[in-house]
């Protein structure tokens, strides 16, 4: 009964996450948008688990574990970059750019 509203909400949330990644230049805000996308996918997993079995709910655990690991390492990378550039704007992170 709640399946189709849940899928629609998670589609909109995922799109908002993508929009944030495309629009912003602040690395920390982009990380938060990635977390938003992961949460939208989690919502899809939980919604479909009602019809397709509890494996979907188990998978949400693994998504949460990977998200926690990603947040820890990603924020450590941002700290290291900030120490070199004194900024978290992605405009200043062009060390590997060609020419």
């Amino acid at each position: 009964m709640l399946l189709s509203p849940a899928l629609a909400i998670s589609a909109v949330l995922f799109t908002l996450g993508v929009l944030g990644v495309l629009l912003r230049r602040n690395a920390i805000v982009i990380f938060m948008c990635v977390e938003l996308m992961l949460n939208a996918v989690n919502l899809t997993f939980v919604a479909l688990a009602q019809n397709l079995g509890l494996g979907g709910q188990v998978f949400v655990f693994f998504v949460m574990a990977v998200a926690a690991a990603e947040a820890a390492v990603g924020l450590a990378i941002i700290l290291a970059v900030y120490r070199h550039k004194q900024s978290v704007s992605l405009q200043n992170m062009n060390l590997l750019r060609d020419g």
Partner: protein
Amino acid sequence: MSVTVFLIFGFTAIASALLCITRRSPIASALWLVITLFCIAALFVGLDAQFLAILQVLVYAGAIMVLFLFVIMLLNLGRPGPSDIKGPLGILVAVVLAIALLTQLLVVSKTTLPSTIQLPPGTVAAVQQQSGMVGAVAAPLFDAYLVPFEIASVLLLAAIVGAVVLAKRKL
């Protein structure tokens, strides 16, 4: 949970996600994201995943967002600086891409599931009734998904070591 309550939480989640991606100050973004995560936890309750809703509040809204706020305050980025949103061309490209993606996702979500892979109605509820909300998720985690579970523990260990190495000034 009735459909109306579910939709109210859903719209609150969408509205605060929209505010999260448009606020200039990273602190404001993070706090709006916390509201989105709480609303998603409420949606989990509506979808009969009470244990995951608790985990969502503890792990996401509790631990991960505190980590984000910690880094924002450590780097002293709390004051809203010049806007970091891209120029008009960037906004146009982003909105067009987002509309295309949203259309695709909504079309995909309208497809009906084939009845061969669907469980008979009430199967999941019966399992949850029999072994409890936590047991229904924990039993497959330590049975069918044991190997991924162990791999996840190694991944978390690697993430701990990696974060310490990256954030240290001198090794």
